[in-house]
């Protein structure tokens, strides 16, 4: 099972932007790993949440025909900590998209405050890794990921 780091989509505009939310809870063991008696959400996991939001956005833009891989975190600037009980919103947009991949950017917000500003690149690996063979099936976009979009119930906008 993959570790899905977003709970649901709040909005989804095909090929343009998406907002997903993740609720941080004290029940998650990794919140206790960084500092004793001071649980926070690790920045690396917030980057993962943003990557999942933006990655699904990029994959859906090509109807999940491409294997979309996070290839580069161009920038990740954090401004504040996130604590248990916070609702973490990942606001991602596609800046540029081509047959090779996509550049994305956006913010992570909590209570309307900017937690982080992020830029990242995704690669369509079948288009870029000439000479390397990958499995035929799309191992990136499993049913688990696609169910996130089904949960959002936007079947009239997004064809799965």
């Amino acid at each position: 099972m993959r570790w899905i780091w977003i709970d649901k989509f709040l909005s989804f505009e095909s090929g343009k932007s998406a907002v997903a939310v993740k609720h941080a809870t004290l029940a998650e063991e990794h919140l206790h790993d960084l500092y004793p008696d001071f649980p926070i959400v690790p920045h690396s996991l917030m980057v993962e949440g943003f990557a999942q939001t933006a990655g699904i956005l990029v994959g859906e833009a090509r109807k999940f025909a491409e294997k979309v891989i996070l290839a580069k975190i161009t920038r990740a600037t954090f401004h504040r900590l996130v604590r248990p009980g916070d609702a973490i919103e990942f606001h991602a947009r596609i800046d540029q998209l081509s047959e090779h991949g996509a550049s994305t950017s956006g913010q992570i917000l909590c209570d309307g405050q900017t937690v982080a500003e992020i830029e990242m690149m995704f690669s369509h690996i079948d288009q870029n890794m000439s000479g390397l063979a990958f499995p035929e099936h799309n191992f990136v976009f499993t049913d688990q990921f696609k169910q996130l979009l089904e949960t959002y119930r936007c079947g009239d906008v997004i064809s799965l």
Partner: protein, 127 residues
């Protein structure tokens, strides 16, 4: 209105600093993108996207960095560019400086420099 080489260079420099996270002074005309500035394959896509935005141009696949040439067995043999490969490169890459490659056709001498990018952009924006 045509852009001067200095204007193009300044914008290219800004793009490379943003895309590669290097310092201003590291970007010099002769600096190689991979060797000196540490570019990896995904960075070439990042650079192409940023140049498209900065100059309002479209960069077709394989035009600026025709990497497909270097995986073609007819053009590269035993780590060297073949005469056919060199002819194809000259046709498709007029923005590339062939001085070193003509002396020694080792594929290691296929190095894209900041000047290569500036030459390419100059041909795109000024025709």
């Amino acid at each position: 209105m045509a852009m001067s080489r200095d204007e193009i260079y300044a914008k290219v420099k800004e793009v490379l600093v943003d895309a590669l996270g290097v310092d201003d002074e590291e970007v010099t005309p002769k600096a190689t993108l991979r060797g000196d500035l540490g570019a990896e394959s995904i960075d070439f896509l990042d650079i192409a996207f940023r140049l498209e935005k900065a100059f309002g141009i479209k960069i077709p696949r394989g035009e600026m960095f025709p990497e497909d040439l270097f995986t073609n067995a007819a053009y590269v043999k035993d780590g060297k560019i073949t005469p056919e490969g060199l002819a194809e490169m000259k046709k498709r890459m007029p923005h590339f400086d062939f001085t070193e490659l003509e002396k020694d056709p080792n594929i290691e001498n296929v190095q894209f420099t900041v000047d290569t990018v500036v030459n390419y952009i100059q041909s795109k924006v000024n025709g």
